[in-house]
């Protein structure tokens, strides 16, 4: 600790170099946190999944719908406590760039399936009554400035045309991983606007079971019922369903890992370079310290400490900035990441990385300082 002043004096003395080095490390770690958050955001849906919820979809693919008639039969399957259903709407708000989740849901039953949707009782009552109404998540409402009573013009793509929905409630999500960038409206409203031949078709069913251990049995039971029918089903836990989506994203995590590693490595080089430049300029000083009686080991520690301090500072700034920025800014990349927030464990990982970079970058200069021969390194004039 008493040597801290000595180490800090060097950093303070070359302010510009300290600033540049700390900045580049901060930049690298900011990027690292951002990239890792892309990966963890994709997993957010997994974290928000409930083990007592099952998703029933067409066995071939999500693209094919299920008949509404299945609802009654599903409710009778042993182990099923609640049934709800919905259609992914997939539209946009005013501009095709403004995409977010819209779901046409069976309003009477959806809240039983999704207690995470927190809505005031007065708002809930109006929403349930009014067929052309909708509710929006708080984050979404804040982003576009929606107020209760606004008519939100949604343009459909799967269900083409203009769909003006009246906002009657703003909901909050009870867990941070659930999607607050979404709009829910009445399935009945969607259905009655469908032409004959496209009526009474449901996208997916949600089933609630009493406990997670019931899930496998109930899933198998449901699929068995329809296995030889013209519209077979695939039933799985919500987590498995979401995982399937993420799998389809393919190599995203590999790509991001490649990018992240390249970044870290590049910045490591910068830090190593800086430390070595500093070391080269200080050979006389190191020699003087040794004449004063500073052991080789102590000198090594002092040089290493300098590298560590720089990296730690950069790490704290970079990770901290990433954490704060994405808390303030609702970055959804056009609806791809409904929940882009930096997890505390990402910050922790980033800081550990920073420390590791500090150690690595300080290694070479620290060792050469330790091994520096005293007499030949003292500055001589004659």
């Amino acid at each position: 600790m008493k040597f801290l002043r000595y180490v800090l004096s060097h950093l303070w003395h070359s302010k510009r170099r300290t600033f540049l080095t700390v900045s580049s490390i901060a930049v690298a770690l900011f990027l690292f946190c951002t990239l890792r958050t892309v990966m963890t955001s994709l997993d957010a849906s997994l974290r928000a999944s409930d083990d007592t919820r099952l998703v029933v979809r067409h066995a071939a693919s999500l693209v094919f719908p299920l008949p509404l008639a299945y609802k009654a039969r599903l409710a009778q399957v042993p182990g099923v406590t609640n049934v709800s259903y919905g259609n992914w709407f997939g539209g946009y708000y005013q501009d095709p760039k403004n995409q977010f989740t819209q779901f046409a849901v069976d309003v009477p039953t959806v809240f039983d399936l999704y207690p995470e949707i927190l809505l005031g009782p007065a708002e809930k009552e109006v929403f349930m009554r009014e067929r052309t109404s909708c509710i929006a998540g708080e984050a979404l409402a804040k982003k576009y400035g929606f107020k209760i009573g606004d008519v939100i013009p949604i343009t459909g793509t799967i269900y083409p045309g203009a769909w003006p929905l009246t906002l009657r409630g703003i909901y909050r999500a009870s867990t941070p991983d659930a999607d607050e960038n979404a709009i829910f409206f009445h399935w009945d409203f969607l259905n009655e606007s469908m032409p004959e031949g496209r009526k009474n078709l449901v996208g997916i069913y949600w089933l609630k079971v009493a406990s997670p251990s019931d899930a496998p049995a109930v899933s198998a039971a449901v699929d068995r019922i329809y296995e030889n029918s013209p519209v077979p089903t695939k039933t799985e836990t919500e987590k498995a369903f979401q995982a399937g989506f993420i799998q389809m994203m393919g190599n995203v995590s590999t790509l991001l890992s490649i990018l992240g590693s390249a970044i870290i490595f590049a910045i490591l080089l910068v830090t190593v370079n800086t430390m070595m430049m500093a070391a080269r300029e200080r050979t006389t000083e190191i020699a003087v310290l040794k004449t004063l009686g500073f052991r080789d080991g102590l000198v090594l520690q002092l040089v290493a400490a300098e590298a560590m301090l720089l990296s730690l500072a950069g790490g704290l700034i970079g990770c901290g900035l990433a954490f704060l920025v994405f808390r303030k800014v609702n970055f959804t990349a056009g609806g791809m990441f409904p929940n882009f927030r930096v997890l505390p464990e990402t910050v922790g990982l980033g800081i550990l990385l920073a420390i590791a970079m500090g150690l690595l970058s300080g290694l070479v200069p620290a060792f050469s300082a330790a091994r520096l021969p005293i007499a030949s390194s003292l500055r001589k004039v004659a």
Partner: protein, 388 residues
């Protein structure tokens, strides 16, 4: 204005080998990431833009973002095929094909599953797409349980090569051929007889109609007539533009992510270059004073250091380009939002991208070198000579 010889700069870079090396390597990495993201976005874009040609038009239901969401009845299909703007095949029939598109969940070779586009094609479908060429096996015979797969499907999915049996819609199909469409989205598709697919997948109607225009200029009148026909409710698009539109969101996202990462990374590299150049100037203070005393102007010093910085950066950029060349062989698959299914593509590294990488590096060198160069140029001569 006398110029300080280039050899001075080159010698200095060579003298401080480690420092030069490390900084150049840092810039090389940034250049690499830059080219990598361009190659990724470019590959994706290329897959979509190379799908479709300007001579073809595609007809789908109005408002559908992709063929998947569209419906086209047999009557409408028949009516459209009789239009005059359509080119004629050698046998006199219209060069048009009504097609079906579904997605099916299949296991990749890696074990994970994803959706694959399955397209029901007509007899003219191949003629309409001259880029699609058979590379293994043979064409499927209509009416039989035979299918063909695109080259990416054969590469990435289980049971998808010639001779394999693939289960679709509860039936076993024999894969009889593999085709190559030069990197377009068709490479990620499975093709079979549309008339057989319709009952099997329980689709009583078509989804799209692709036709060859007799003259490219016929698109406009055809479009106008069909789109204003109330019985049909269709929209007409030039084939290449139709597929290009589908890449929209993902392509933009890839670009944005790429540019974001690269620009921030370049900040780090510029800081590194700044550090190196400042140290370089600091070490050569007496040298600079001597050069000034000899008679070289401020401008000459400024230019010299700026050149040195750019040279250093270009060294890194060249290295980055070299390292980026193998990227061409990467393939990756991602989910196309339009079809909710896998779109596999090859990274594309073009000479233009490499040039861009070099230019970007030079730019970083310029930014990182300017302030130190200015410092070198404006140092008072007497002070710099005195410095040890």
């Amino acid at each position: 204005m006398a110029r300080i010889p280039l050899a001075y700069n080159l010698r200095n870079l060579a003298a401080r080998r480690v420092s030069t090396g490390l900084t150049a390597l840092g810039i090389a990495l940034v250049a690499w990431v830059f080219i990598f993201t361009l190659a990724l976005a470019g590959g994706f874009q290329a897959a979509l833009t190379s799908t479709g040609t300007p001579e073809n038009a595609i007809i789908i239901r109005k408002g559908s973002t992709s063929e998947l969401m569209s419906i086209l009845s047999r009557e409408a299909s028949g009516a459209i095929e009789s239009q005059g703007e359509i080119a004629k095949a050698p046998d006199g029939t219209p060069l048009a094909a009504s097609e079906l598109m579904v997605v099916w969940n299949l296991p990749r070779k890696s074990g994970t599953t994803t959706n694959v586009v399955v397209r029901g094609v007509g007899p003219k479908s191949f003629t309409l797409r001259p880029k699609v060429k058979l590379i293994r096996g043979r064409m499927f015979r209509p009416g039989l349980d035979e299918i063909m797969v695109g080259k990416m499907v054969a590469e990435r999915f289980q049971h998808c090569d010639v001779g394999d049996q693939l289960k679709l819609a509860g039936r076993e199909w024999t894969v009889v051929g593999v085709f190559d469409s030069k990197g377009s989205t068709y490479d990620s598709e499975i093709w079979g007889d549309v008339e057989l697919f319709m009952p099997v997948f329980d689709r009583p109607v078509y989804q799209s109609l692709t036709l060859r225009l007799a003259e490219p200029s016929y698109l406009a009148p055809l479009k106008k007539r069909l789109e204003s026909d109330p019985r049909m409710d269709v929209e007409v698009d030039r084939e290449d533009r139709f597929y290009a539109k589908q890449s929209g969101q993902l392509s933009t996202m890839l670009r944005v992510l790429g540019m974001f990462v690269t620009s921030i990374m370049s900040l780090g590299a510029i800081f590194g270059a700044l550090n190196t150049m400042y140290a370089s100037v600091g070490n050569r203070t007496r040298e600079i004073g001597t050069l000034r005393a000899i008679g070289f102007s401020r401008g000459a010093i400024l230019t010299s250091f700026l050149i040195e910085s750019v040279l250093l950066a270009l060294l890194g950029g060249a290295l980055g380009c070299l390292l980026a060349l193998p990227v061409r062989s990467f393939t990756t698959g991602t989910m196309s939002f339009a079809t909710f299914s896998e779109l596999a593509f090859r990274f594309q590294v073009t000479p233009g991208m490499l040039l861009a990488g070099l230019a970007f590096s030079a730019f970083m060198g310029l930014l990182g070198g300017f302030l130190p160069a200015r410092k070198a140029a404006t140092m008072p001569i007497v002070d710099s000579l005195r410095q040890a």
